[in-house]
Structures are given as C-alpha cells and as structure tokens.
C-alpha cells in the first residue's frame, strides 16, 4: 500500500467516489436533497424528544444536535461502507492488481462529500435560529480534516477484518450504537452522572466531535490542548489502520 501506488491510481479513486455518490442518489427521486434533508429531519425528532419532552437544559438545542448528528452520520456511515467496500469490489481485486486501499479510501472521501453537502442545511439552521455566526466557523475545514483522518484510520482497521469475517459488520453495527450513546452526540455532558463521566470523557470520539462542534455551537476555536489531543488521536488511528491494512492486504484476495 505504498503512497506512490495510490497516487498512480488517483483518477481511479476519483472515479470510485463519483460512482459511489451516483449510486447513492440515483435510487431516490429527490437525489442530493435527501442528504441535506435526512439530518434535518433527525434533528427535528431529537429536538422534539429531548428539548421538549426530556427538557435538556441547553440553548438552541437544534444546532447542538444537528452538529453532533452530522459528525456522527459521517463517521458511522463511512465505517460501514469501508467495511463493505472490499467484498463489494471482490470481482476487481481478485482479478486486477489494484492497490486495495483505494476502496476504503474512496468510500471515506464520498462520505466527506456528503458531509459537505449536509453542512448547507446546518448553515440555514444557524441563520434561521439566529445563532451567532462567528469567525470560528473558518476553523471548520481543520476540524473536518481531523475527523476524516480518524474515520479513515478506523475504516482501514475494520475493512480487512470485515473481509475475513463477515460477522464483523453486524458486530460493529451494534458497537456503533453503543459508541453513539457513549458520545455526547445529542445530549449535553452534564446530564451524565458524575460516576460515569470518565467513560465519556476518555472516549476518543468525543474529542474528535468536540473539535468539530466547538466552532459551530460555541463559536470558538477549540482550546489548543483539546485540538492537540484530537489530532494525536487521529494520527494514531491512521497509523494503526495503515499498519493493520498493510499487514493483511496480501491476504484479502484469498478471503473476499
């Protein structure tokens, strides 16, 4: 999985990203609008349930929840599509010497484009709810980059596992639900009992999420220490993922 090989196949990666997006949108009649609508509708549901029924003490809950959801959808969908990407392209990677990393890479990049599209309604909601538009929003590209690195790393680690054991896909689906509840995606940190708060605090996903949500919801660039932790976690994730993928890459064609 050398970097050179990936560069050589860059146009293939681009092609796979576009194909991924086309397939995703061809099937629905309202196409790209769905990417923007889906998180908005989820946000409405969450607002109804948590801001009005459970009454979370949090200002402008809609923005808080939507920012969390955008990150979470990007992460969880990219993980699942990365895991499926090797089996889905089995016909290619057992017949052609394509560097296998192009498959998880292109699914994460397609997820990134979806995230960008889903940012559009977020800005609409920011404006509609009168949330202050601070210069900190300019920090978002950095935050998205960190989130993408982390997601790609996790995808690289899980994709070969999913090729070896198909059960992993189901298992990770369950674990993702658990992880979502352990990450303050739609609830504020302070509703968690003091005794359990460490579990959420040391959750790496929380660090990545907060670096993403700080500039949107709190209108501030994340503190340097938080940012350093998130960047560190992402780099470690990519290093572990790349190592695992490289180690197992030669065996993938025997299993898919």
């Amino acid at each position: 999985m050398s970097l050179n090989a990936v560069l050589r196949y860059r146009d293939l990666v681009l092609y796979l990203v576009l194909r991924d997006l086309k397939v995703r949108y061809r099937r629905s009649s309202i196409g790209f609008a769905w990417t923007m609508l889906q998180p908005l509708l989820s946000m409405l549901v969450l607002s109804l349930v948590f801001a009005h029924i459970f009454r979370f003490e949090i200002d402008n809950y809609a923005v808080y929840a939507l920012a969390g959801l955008l990150f979470w959808n990007f992460f969880s969908q990219s993980i699942v599509t990365s895991m499926n990407s090797l089996r889905a392209n089995a016909g290619l990677l057992t017949k052609l010497p394509v560097p296998k990393v192009v498959f998880p890479l292109s699914t994460v990049l397609a997820g990134l484009i979806n995230l960008m599209l889903a940012m559009v309604p977020l800005f609409v909601i920011l404006i509609v709810t009168g949330h202050p538009l601070r210069p900190s929003l300019l920090f978002l590209p950095v935050a998205i980059f960190v989130a993408t690195l982390f997601t790609f790393g996790a995808g690289l680690l899980l994709a070969p596992l999913a090729a070896f054991f198909s059960d992993i896909v189901e298992l990770v689906g369950v674990l993702l639900t658990l992880a979502m509840y352990m990450t303050p995606v739609f609830y504020p940190m302070d509703i968690i009992p003091e005794s359990l708060r460490w579990a959420v605090r040391f959750n790496p996903l929380r660090s990545i999420l907060e670096v993403f949500r700080d500039p949107i919801y709190y209108g501030k660039v994340p503190p340097v220490t938080h940012l350093a932790v998130a960047v560190g976690i992402s780099l470690v994730a990519v290093a572990i993922g790349a190592f695992a993928f490289r180690r197992s890459s030669d065996r993938i064609a025997f299993y898919v």
């Binding site: 146009d11 017949k95 010497p97 030669d250 064609a253």
Partner: protein, 265 residues
C-alpha cells in the same frame, strides 16, 4: 532485479523463484467468529490445504512470448494471478518490472451497465492509467475494437467476442512491459484474431513480454517462442514451444488412451 541474462542482453521482466501458492479450502473462508474461535483452538485439524503451485521458477525476458499450457486445474491461472500480483505467493519470490496489463478473465473490470466508451475509462483506470492518458488514446481504442456505434450502448448487449475485443484493445492501447492473457482471445472471430496477432507482434517489437494461457495448442505454437507445461502445480516441462507442446500432447494422449485425439483438454 538483475539486468543480465538472455539473448541480446534483454532484461528480465518477470522472475519467479521457488513460488508456491496455497489455498485454504472453501469451507475455511467466510467463517463466523464463533467458528473461527472453535477452529482456532484446534487449528491443525481444519486447515485442509490445497497447493495450487509448488516450487515454480520462471524467467521471462522483455519481448519474449511465453505460452503456458496444462490441464484444467493444473495451476495455470494461479500462476498468472501470482505473476500479476493479485495473489501473493505462500512461499518464494515474485519480481516484475514495469507496467503489467493482465486480462485474467473475460470482462474483468467491466461494468455491464455502462457503455463501451465508459468502460474504456473504467477499465484503463483499473489498469493504473490516468484520465489524461486515457483521453489521449480513447479514439485509438475505439477504432481498434471495431465496435462502431455499439461503443455507445451498454456492454450487457455485447457478445462475448465483442467484450474480448474491447478488453484486448484497452489492455494493448499502451505498450505494457508484461501482457498477461488467460484464454481471452479464444472467443474472437478469425478477423479479430488475425488483427490481435498483428498487434502482439508490434508489442513484441516494442519489448512487451507476453504470458499466454491457452488450451488451443496450435495458437500457442503460432504465437509463442517458449512454452511452459504446468502439471499438478509444478513445471512439468519448459523449452521451445514445439518440443513442450509435443511432450504435452504425447502425455495427454497416453493418459486418455483409447479415444486419442482429445487434443489438450
């Protein structure tokens, strides 16, 4: 990889040393985690191994045309997969030099819902070409394939001969260092076979090495300078094509005794 060896100081483009390839049998794949955990504890029992290749040494020089013959299941396709880098050998070393263009199966890397033209792009991208390189050659590919207006219709409407033509036209649009063909020309018509022979001759002049798997012994004879007979995953014979083909014919005829002329199956 060393530059030496062979007539006229031509360089080695494919070198296999002591290559062995082992498949674990089908029941071992797609295991559930539970099965895996159980099997893992008594590992020795369940790994039923199938050695598709054993102790294979092979050198191919630039411009050489190597035929690979043998019965079904002898390991010919496994050999091509190892050479093209799709499967990593269990033992031994594989070194290749330069750009490989493998067609291991009819229609590999094609999307049957896309048009012929779109598939030229997809297939060439999968062979490691960039969009720009493809833009430069796409007209040549279309012309060589002689698909005419069919190039704009989805290839699910194509005959297997048309798909073979398109695949061959794409793989040979650039001069690869190693061209690997697994029985893909057999479905072409006489006209296209003659035309592809012509192109193979041009590629040879440009230094492309050809690895050709075929059951059509006459076509191997006409195309290849050298031949390898694979039997039971090992090299049974190697040398000038006529000699090896004769030995192979004699061996199969002897085995298939009474109904003799079961040529090469």
């Amino acid at each position: 990889m060393s530059e030496r060896r062979g007539g006229g100081g031509r360089r080695t483009v494919v070198r296999l040393e002591g290559v062995a390839l082992c498949y674990r049998l089908a029941k071992q794949r797609h295991v559930s985690i539970k099965e895996f955990a159980i099997h893992w504890m008594k590992r020795a029992l369940i790994y039923e191994k199938l050695w598709a290749l054993r102790g294979v040494d092979l050198h191919v020089l630039a411009g050489e045309r190597l035929g690979i013959i043998g019965r079904n299941g002898a390991g010919k396709s496994s050999l091509l997969k190892v050479v093209s880098g799709v499967l990593k050998p269990t033992e031994g070393r594989v070194e290749t030099r330069g750009h490989l263009a493998p067609i291991l199966e009819l229609g590999t890397g094609f999307d049957y819902e896309l048009t012929g033209l779109e598939n030229i792009y997809l297939n060439a991208l999968l062979l490691g070409r960039t969009r720009r390189e493809i833009d430069e050659r796409v007209a040549d590919v279309v012309a060589f394939s002689e698909l005419g207006d069919f190039i704009h219709s989805p290839i699910r409407n194509y005959s297997s001969g048309m798909i073979a033509r398109l695949g061959f036209s794409i793989a040979t649009a650039w001069v690869p260092d190693v061209l690997i063909l697994d029985e893909v020309l057999a479905v072409g018509d006489a006209h296209f076979i003659a035309k592809s022979r012509q192109r193979l001759a041009e590629l040879r002049a440009a230094g492309t090495a050809l690895l050709l798997v075929s059951h059509d012994l006459d076509s191997v004879r006409e195309t290849c300078d050298r031949c390898v007979w694979i039997d039971g995953g090992r090299v049974a014979a190697e040398g000038p094509t006529d000699e090896v083909v004769e030995r192979y014919r004699a061996a199969t005829a002897a085995e298939d005794a009474p109904p003799a002329a079961a040529a090469g199956r």
